[in-house]
Amino acid sequence: MTDSATPLAATGWPLWEVFVRSRRGLSHSHAGSLHAPDAEMALRHARDLFTRRMEGVSIWVVPSAAVTASSPDEKDPFFDPAADKVYRHPSFYEIPEGVTNL
């Protein structure tokens, strides 16, 4: 009982990011994150946590530590220049009939 004040995550399991592909033909999307002792167990936990209701046909797990994220401080130079470049949007095309995922 000496460690009763220790938070749960303090067992030392690393954090993993989970990507789930919901259907064939679509790409994997970020579903959430979880703790697991290693990659194999992370896959199992991801199956239990994120595909309980038939959400997936494929799962990736990636150590969260391996993700390099953009920093909030760099937000302006990173994202603002795209704001006035409307010609980059594919909004000038007609989507062919019957195409649902483009």
Partner: protein
């Protein structure tokens, strides 16, 4: 007559023998699943990590689903109007037909993993064989459950390898789990007249035939996990005849309390 057969007639629990053989067989399988489900559910809010808690609860729910189908089938076979709830919540200890292995307390995580390994390996062989049962309900339950149980076994194997081949402490606990539970595995493979009578019509599987593939599967996992198969000198049994350890009564008191205090209560 073997000694065990005379014990069976001499100490049969109240109500035993009232069920047709096919229903009694379904009751055994259903009670195994129900009681282990209840035990695994006890880990909720107590597991080492919330992810593992989900995994154990998921397995418990799979087992509960199997138990519901099997108990319903047993009640229909009996033909006295007892449904799954009547069988789960209105029977006393001596009327339960589960093996002793599933009713033992969870112990530590190593013991929980050891039990899941022993039991899911048995259930996997059992359901794989029962898929070709001539009882269409048993065959259907087995066909669905075999995939669930393959996952339960996979979970138990992964943890057995990690704990067995992990730290000195995890190895010690995993080995202790095997040591304590291994003797109870023998009961899973006991043949008795009831099971054997259902074999010629291909309703049931003779439990004894599942032992060899089980031994082979377990041997491979245990040695890879740097553990050893304990040399046990005893093999307690009696669950199939309603003779249980002192632990089942406590489990039933908790499991049945709500239903018995508030009959007909619903969510």
């Amino acid at each position: 007559m073997s000694p065990s057969a005379s014990v069976e007639t001499g100490q049969a629990a109240p109500g035993a023998g009232a069920l047709p053989a096919g229903a009694e067989y379904a009751l055994r399988l259903g009670d195994d699943a129900l009681i282990l489900s209840q035990r695994l559910g006890e880990w909720i809010t107590r597991a080492p990590e919330i992810e593992e808690e989900m995994a154990l609860a998921n397995i418990a729910l799979d087992l509960l689903g199997q138990a519901r189908a099997l108990l319903t089938h047993a009640g229909e076979g009996e033909g006295c109007g007892r449904d799954e709830d009547a069988l789960a919540f209105r029977r006393d200890e001596r009327e339960f037909r589960n093996c002793l292995l599933v009713e033992l307390p969870n112990g530590d995580f190593g013991q929980t993993v050891a039990r899941l390994l022993l039991f899911s390996s048995y259930q996997l062989e059992l359901y794989a064989a029962l898929r070709s049962s001539t009882d269409p309900t048993l065959a259907a339950v087995a066909a669905r459950a075999v995939k669930e149980v393959a996952y339960h076994r996979d979970h138990a194997v992964l943890w057995t390898l990690r704990l067995g081949d992990g730290t000195e402490e995890s190895h010690r606990r995993m080995q202790r789990g095997l040591d304590e539970l291994w003797p109870y595995a023998a009961e899973l493979f006991e043949s008795d007249p009831l099971a054997r009578d259902l074999v010629p019509t291909r309703v049931a599987v003779d439990p004894a035939t599942l032992r060899a593939p089980w031994d082979a599967a377990l041997g491979a996992v245990v040695s890879e996990a740097t553990l050893v198969i304990p040399d046990t000198g005893w093999s307690p049994s009696g669950g199939r005849r309603g003779l249980h350890t002192e632990h089942l009564g406590h489990l039933l008191a908790e499991m049945q309390h709500l239903h018995r205090s508030h009959p007909g209560a619903r969510w």
